[in-house]
Subunit: 387 residues, 2 copies
């Protein structure tokens, strides 16, 4: 160790990638120029889920009709097959379509489609642009507006992925008209998640109109639907902006409902939808908060009632305490060494609980109470009662 | 299209990731604390190539000996198997070793090892830290100091990857003592690349001492080896800092030697080493420059002589003009729509030539001249003659 060390000037790699988010209506109407403006004469690959292709494929092609260089591809993947192979498959199709490094992939679909396309865009030639057009409620308020793109691997949820912000998210609640009620409920779980931990007014709004929105396929009351979507998106963006790359803090409010849910989704082989698993997790986390004396019984009731009124489950019969416990341990790795379990302290506020406060016995007691609660559900306590 | 659109404030995701680069000596000496300081009591996964494990595995384990939480893994991959699966394999091992989101992967090896580990770190939990300890000359001056990490797919070089800066690159020329001469020559190609397009003084230095450095396994003349490495690294970092994410410009000086080389590597099934392919590309690009009247015959001779004196080939018998032509077309996609072929205009300066200036006939003529040049090589014209 004779020669002295030499320190080169550190290489600073600042990357500033603005991500535009626009709420629009009639996105596929020929007069709506938003999406064509996004493409700007570039070669592009439009990727749709099979359902979106069946319901909207013709209109999408008609919308881009006169534009050369727009290619189309249908992605046959679900949550159970949302794997790294799927992202590689989209990269192959991007090569075949002749995309170059400034050509966007445009994902029309739910979280599975936008996640896979986002990761494919992150990997293809080390990163090409992508545009998200979410067609589900979860997509509108969550998966379609973030820059996180991940796939599952080896039975673990979202273990492989990237932070790769879309150029643009184009949000059109009109797509919700063709979404099955169960998927609308699933999306409501993400809205309720945000409302419980950060926005009491949003909670009131959803509590007053969840039933009406579900009954109308999110068409009515129109001004409430717009307000709920705007408020949810704005709240989510504000939370993301605090810590976009999750490097400054691993205590994230928006992780509410996302600690036990990965296990529930995986253990159910994805027969439990993402939002349903989030609802089960919200219920369990809220029950834990009540047990730990962090939230009042009345507020716990309001949370559980709103989940139920939104068509969401509070318990899943096959839930295993061992499974939840294992899930909790693997979340600790993801959150950098501790649990940071988000639990509500009031409607619109929350705190973080660490692993040492939780035990398998406590989980069992909470699950038992939720099971009884769920089976004694009173169908008369539905949304609207507080309106 | 009744309701007005709503534009949310754009989500700005600024990411500033400083990447430290340190030239050190005796990295594995127990008294050298650099690498232990990098680990800082974190859980870590040390990944080595089989060769590095054989030559240095015992010393690496001894170096970290008393530190808990350092895990070891040997990666059995070469350029021909540098695939996305390899990155996924490292992610699996990172999970098994209990790495959390601030735990680093430490890659000890050549470009194959640092590329795979860099991509694995980019994907694992959407990005964990990584540290590069290049053990080859190419690694020291090129693959080990950048933030580009890519793998091959479907016969295409580096088509899947990421920009994911290492926390730290630790450069110790001492590893070169165990590198086979052919691999030292291969590394010299990257140094010559940089010298030709950006640093005439570096060219002079290499021209004067290439033979002595090769003969001594890059141990002597010690001050020249250090100067060449420092100058090459500093030059490369300066070029990278201009446009770290390759988004402002697709005309990059450091792409010199990297237009035809992907095809040459792939077509040879990686029997032609990366640096050898770069040398073949440098020779062809220089010959093209001479043909187009962009560089003098004397300077072209100096470039070709230095390649040859460095033990590098000027021609590869199985080269096909059709293959090169196809390679050129696919590079156009990667460089966003045009060729931007880097060609030297003098020792230390360059320009960019576009696709319209190149034809298969021109390539054929240049290859023929290089073949004759190579076969009439005068072994007396070796490095040192200008010293």
């Amino acid at each position: 160790v004779s020669e002295p060390d030499h320190e080169f000037p550190p290489l600073r790699s600042v990357r500033d990638r603005p991500h535009r988010v626009t709420l629009t209506h009639g996105l596929l109407h020929p007069d709506n120029t938003r999406l064509r403006e996004c493409v700007r004469h570039r070669t592009a690959l439009v990727v749709t889920s099979p359902t979106v292709d069946r319901l909207y494929g013709r209109r999408i092609r008609a919308y881009f009709g006169p534009i050369p260089g727009v290619h189309y591809s249908v992605l046959h993947r679900g949550e159970a097959t949302k794997s790294i192979d799927a992202a590689v498959e989209i990269s192959e199709r991007a090569s075949a379509a002749g995309l170059c490094r400034t050509s966007p992939v445009i994902a029309f679909g739910g979280g599975v489609c936008t996640d896979i396309c986002g990761l494919a865009a992150a990997l293809h030639h080390r990163g090409i642009p992508h545009i998200k057009v979410p067609t589900t409620l979860i997509g509108l308020v969550d998966a379609g507006i973030g820059m996180k793109n991940a796939v599952n691997h080896d039975g673990r949820k979202s273990v492989l992925g990237s932070f790769h912000p879309p150029e643009h998210s184009l949000l059109d609640p009109g797509f919700l008209g063709t979404l099955p009620r169960r998927h609308l409920s699933s999306g409501l779980a993400e809205i309720i998640k945000l409302a419980v931990v950060a926005d009491g007014d949003l909670f009131d709004l959803v509590e007053a109109s969840a039933r009406a929105m579900l009954d109308s396929g999110f068409r009515a009351p129109a001004e409430v639907v717009t307000a709920v979507v705007r408020r949810s998106v704005a709240g989510m963006l504000a939370e993301l902006a605090r810590n976009p790359y999750e490097v400054t803090d691993f205590r994230r409010k928006v992780d509410f409902g996302h600690t036990f849910s990965p296990w529930l989704e995986t253990a159910s082989q994805h027969t439990v939808l993402h939002g349903e698993a989030v609802a089960l997790d919200i219920a369990l986390s809220t029950e834990l908060a009540a047990d730990l004396g962090l939230i009042t019984a009345a507020e716990r009731e309001r949370v559980l009632d709103l989940l139920r009124c939104s068509g969401l489950p509070l318990s899943w019969p096959a839930t295993s305490v061992d499974g939840l416990w294992a899930s909790l341990r693997s979340v600790v790795d993801h959150r950098n060494g501790d649990l940071h379990l988000v639990v509500p302290t009031a409607i619109g506020d929350c705190t973080f609980v660490e692993a040492r406060a939780i035990s398998p016995g406590l989980l069992r007691a909470c699950l038992d109470r939720l099971g009884r609660h769920d089976s004694t559900a009173r169908p008369d306590r539905l949304s609207g009662v507080r309106a």
